[in-house]
């Protein structure tokens, strides 16, 4: 495959061969409408101004780029900088996308929003943006995830969202996506589906990437301003791949910048023990898109495991598959144990409780830094804060809350 460019996807939603639209005909018209409306919004200075204003005064952007001095000392190598998405309103990068898509919903004149959520971060970010604009909001969430993430469920309901438990299949994120798509097929005339990651049929992978690219644009400029040059490496965790797509995209054509995505390595490299489709899967179809996926020989989606509910997904955004096959981004994994250890290290060395998702990226940054010179600079996307994970961390480390 040729070199990766930022000029993707094409009209058909293709990132190289990946992406496209594998959905029932019922959704095709809505996807066409959404594509057109998004193109108009993108070219509309008023829309962009409104979005920037909200990102500034409501979300709290720009998020700082922070030099992690003690983490750097610990690694004994390259300098580690953290892009602090954990400091956003609602505590993660997810709000960048939901604010943008909520403005799109208003443009399309729709009054109702649906969303899927796994760990609950995207659900909370959607409920938040809907509350801000007075839109009806229904969040689909697997019964199993509802049990694990009671705090986020409470927050969503407090902001007026209806959380609908999903009891089909594995009762987790991928089933929540199925249910949200089903709802959308019956409600598409008055409802917008705010998909939370760079997955699904075109134009979602493009829209979510674009709304998240503010992370990489800011980080790139902040690095130029503080370090005086571009970083040597940029690292982010990859579940569906939204924070990493947003972080990497503005660097795609900066050839000297190495890009590393970190998947959930879970317990082992055996099927069912991890959530790493780019590392251990193969190209296939899931949730309306052609991308790397964890499937059995019959094309049935495999169950996945990760310590992090936010990375616990058997598929990945098609642009990541494109970046993998072009060699532009290197993908690796981080185990549950390493992520947990890094969570604790971050708390003690930097006074930051990172999301367990983001801990995967920091863990890899420590390894990468150790193999680099002290003159090198690594940027890590700290995609969210870890308050939501303390109960699980306490359980895993044998402590009582």
């Amino acid at each position: 495959m040729p070199t990766a460019t930022a000029q993707v996807p094409d009209q058909l939603g293709r990132f190289g061969p990946f992406g496209r639209r594998f959905v029932p005909e019922t959704l095709m018209h809505a996807l066409d409408q959404l594509t057109e409306e998004y193109e108009r919004a993108k070219a509309d200075p008023e829309f962009q101004e409104q979005l920037e204003g909200l990102l500034h005064t409501y979300v709290g952007r720009p998020s700082p780029l922070y030099f992690a001095e003690r983490l750097t000392k610990e690694a004994r190598g390259a300098q580690i900088y953290l892009k602090r998405e954990d400091l956003n309103h609602t505590g993660a990068h997810k709000i960048n996308n939901t604010v943008g898509q909520t403005l799109l919903t208003l443009r399309m004149g729709k009054q109702r929003v649906i969303a899927e959520t796994g760990a609950g971060q995207h659900g909370v970010a959607t409920a938040t943006a809907c509350a801000r604009f007075g839109l009806d909001c229904v969040v689909y969430m697997g019964e199993e995830d509802i049990r694990r993430q009671q705090l986020n469920v409470f927050n969503m309901r407090t902001m007026g969202a209806e959380v609908r438990p999903v009891t089909s299949g594995s009762r987790t994120l991928r089933d929540a996506v199925n249910e949200a798509m089903r709802d959308w097929m019956a409600s598409v005339e008055n409802t917008h589906y705010i998909l939370g990651s760079v997955v699904g049929p075109h134009p979602f992978p493009m829209i979510v990437r674009d709304f998240q690219a503010v992370i990489g644009r800011e980080a790139r400029q902040q690095c130029l301003d503080t370090v005086g040059r571009l970083p040597d490496e940029v690292i982010a965790c990859v579940g569906g791949g939204s924070n990493s797509a947003g972080m990497f995209y503005p660097f795609i054509e900066d050839e000297g910048v190495a890009l590393t995505g970190v998947e959930a390595g879970g317990r082992s490299d055996q099927p069912g023990d991890h959530a790493s489709p780019l590392s251990y899967g193969q190209p296939g179809i899931l949730h309306g898109s052609y991308s790397y996926v964890l499937q059995d020989d019959d094309g049935q989606t495999l169950d996945v495991h990760s310590i992090s509910a936010g990375l616990d997904y058997p598929g990945v955004g098609p642009e990541h598959s494109y970046w993998k096959d072009t060699g532009r981004v290197c993908y690796t994994t981080c185990s549950d144990d390493d992520a947990l250890a890094t969570f604790q290290k971050m708390a003690r060395l930097e006074g930051i409780l990172p999301a367990i998702e983001s801990s995967h990226a920091v863990s890899q940054a420590l390894k990468a830094a150790a193999n680099r010179s002290p003159d090198d600079v690594i940027l890590v996307c700290l995609s969210g804060r870890g308050d939501k994970d303390v109960k699980e961390v306490a359980r895993l480390t044998g402590q009582v809350l």
Partner: protein, 272 residues
Amino acid sequence: MAELTPISNTFATLRAENRLAFMPFVTAGDPDLAMTQDLIRGLSDAGVHLIEVGFPYSDPIADGPVIQASYTRALGGGVTVDGILKAVAEVNTDETPLLAMVSYAIVFRHGVEKFIADAKAAGFAGFIIPDLPGAEAAECFELVRSQGLDLVQLVAPTTPRERVQEILKSCSGFVYCVAVAGTTGERANVADALLDQLRWLREETDLPLAVGFGISKPEHVDPLRQVADGVIIGSGIVRQLEPTSDGQLDRNGAMQAIADLTTKMVNATSGS
């Protein structure tokens, strides 16, 4: 003119007799493949005109809760694509063309060409791939046609008329007209919007029009008589295979209930 495919032939015969086609749907492997074989034989003997065989898929976004639950039961029982093809090959239904209703995730994983060839060898006459819409199906359509089989496309209530010709480019056998926006399931009435859509679809194509998603009983047939060529029942049949609260399935009872519905539907679609 090319030789008629088995599916086109069935519709041509019915059209000449001024009858509608009745096409039931069964999930392969629910509760097991032996029962699926019995059902295919039974439905064929009862005089249905075509049969859709659903390939269970783990993430079926195009299907409603009844069929998804049935897929989950079948996959829980360990059904595989090879198992389905073998079971279907053992059932002789020369009289009744079989269609594979299968997600593109499964077709792609097996290799599109190989899947089509294997399905043909097992006796399938055509394919419905609900997540391979419009132009996305162009390549697959060529491969299916080169095997002398049909690829049926869906037209939804949300499909704008200007999109229909693009869909028809990759469609043969018949057009699967989705009666309601949303996923498969049973509904109370046949909507006026559907009848309008069928009328303008008729102006766009000579292909037979079969209506599914939301069709569940003989009363649904009459309003469609002048505007459609066939009706499809999925959930209405599949729900007969739901186990009772004690987890058991009364196989004979289920077969009887399906036979009763089938007889009524065959009479309704054949009646004048």
